[in-house]
Symmetry: C2
Subunit: 291 residues, 2 copies
């Protein structure tokens, strides 16, 4: 595996290679969830490029940016062991040579996709995500961009951005990887104490209950209300939202509506961190997607 | 497989055999659920005796007794094919030579086990069940009695009867077998129309939602209320009860109580029949039992 720190060097290396390129953008502190992205990339492409870049423009709280875990040596070892070919590890000035104020994506509109959930609760977050992903795609020029289902709303925003900018890149979305407890893997989990880790595992049980309720046809607003209230009864959890949305519009799902996919998404504060998670349900199949 | 119609002949046949005896009492109209009982019996015993006897004393509605499906030839073929050794196929007078009024079990008390659910909704039903099972055990004298989890309350009553009478017989309980749709197998399913069969499959989805809610710690009374109301919104279903009970006492489960097992049990009218079903949840494991 080659480690490269500048866009110019990366372009030189990649232009000397032939074959399909998959790109896995990350913020480091890698775990098995990221490795599932790498594995999906390796399985279907000739060259796998991963980036580790803690993008300052998508953090709406500087404390969260400062506290974001950084484990560069372990990350490089994991990527190499899982068959990644190129690690792009840039400085901020390499990604944003003209500063962070200028963005290809500043004129894009995401409509309902950013109106709720993370969009409502993390002002500027998705502008920063679109900015960094568009810039990284410009640098890497992959055939396929690989992202995780755990960041469902982020995937929706990036899909819209690709469409609006007319970029020629496939988007490959990989199911969420969970701990045995059901807790979705996240770099932020490293900051949880043991009791907090135990408490956080309840989040997925509440999502399971909501999905099972949807499968039985129980009303979406009542399920949201029950789950929100019951998550709030855990001494170590404080729910920010739990929403049952049309997976395509990210607007509230209306009972019985003929949508392709329902996403049940939540953000929950646990100790020092804010965790997000989601589960997907296909009403036409009456079945969970990627359970 | 031998087919025997009298208790006297059955005693003669069995007393000439050596080895362990498992007994599977049925009311005929056999399906894959019964075959799971036979398979469990065959796997662990030398001789498997099944009975087919539509016991009049456990039917509280004569219309239900009259309409109960009877498929004797197909039943015998199925039992033989699955390794049953002896089929006991008695007349009423062979089981009750002194009439149905006299019962070994008339002095037994089942306390809370028959206070609710089937006990409250089918007067006399469990007295009839205890009467026929005690009489059949007297005739067959098996080492093991094999019953299905689907009749959870019946199993609890029979377990109590065995204990109260001091009978030396093991009770083997076999998990419920379901159609692909999730509908619990039942002889009464044969009387459902196709739309009713589709509707009836929803029952298990409601039970799944309740179990998932219990796993998330949602309040039992609210889950019962939501499931009862939502089952009632199906045009072809009419719920009679849905109860979340302590599996040992069959009294209502109190949130957080340290019980061994929770049973979520329901009776639902669908077209011409009344269907029962249940699911088990072990709070100490936060996991479903026999999912």
């Amino acid at each position: 595996m080659q480690t490269i720190t500048t866009a110019a060097a990366l372009r030189t290396v990649l232009s000397n290679q032939s074959g399909s390129v998959a790109f896995v953008p990350t913020m480091g502190a890698l775990h098995d969830g990221h490795m599932a992205l790498i594995a999906a990339a390796v399985a279907s492409h000739d060259i796998v490029v991963a980036s580790i870049f803690v993008n300052p423009t998508q953090f709406n709280e500087s404390a969260d940016l400062d506290a974001y875990p950084r484990t560069p040596e372990a990350d490089a070892d994991l990527l190499k062991a899982h068959g990644c070919n190129v690690l792009y590890l840039p400085e901020v000035k390499d990604v944003y040579p003209e500063g962070t104020g200028k963005s290809l994506t500043s004129t894009l509109g995401f409509g309902s996709l950013t109106a709720r959930m993370e969009g409502a609760n993390r002002p500027g977050h998705f502008d920063g995500v679109a900015q960094v992903v568009s810039r990284l795609l410009e640098i890497v020029q992959p055939d396929t961009l690989v992202m995780g289902q755990k960041d469902y709303q982020q995937v929706a925003v990036v899909r819209s951005m690709i469409s609006q900018l007319g970029l020629r890149v496939e988007l490959l979305v990989v199911p969420t990887v969970r701990e045995v407890s059901g807790l979705a893997m996240s770099s932020r989990n490293r900051r949880l104490s043991i009791p907090e880790t135990v408490a956080a595992a309840a989040i997925n049980r509440h999502l399971s209950a909501v999905v099972a309720g949807l499968a039985a046809g129980w009303p979406a607003r009542e399920l949201e209300g029950m789950a929100f209230r019951e998550i709030g009864t855990h001494p170590l959890l404080r729910p920010e939202y739990i929403e049952i949305c049309d997976g395509d519009t990210l607007l509230p799902y209306q009972d019985g509506a003929p949508v392709r996919e329902i996403v049940v998404a939540t953000a929950v504060h646990c100790g020092p961190v804010r965790l997000i998670d989601n589960r997907l349900f296909a009403p036409s199949l009456a079945e969970e997607v990627n359970p």
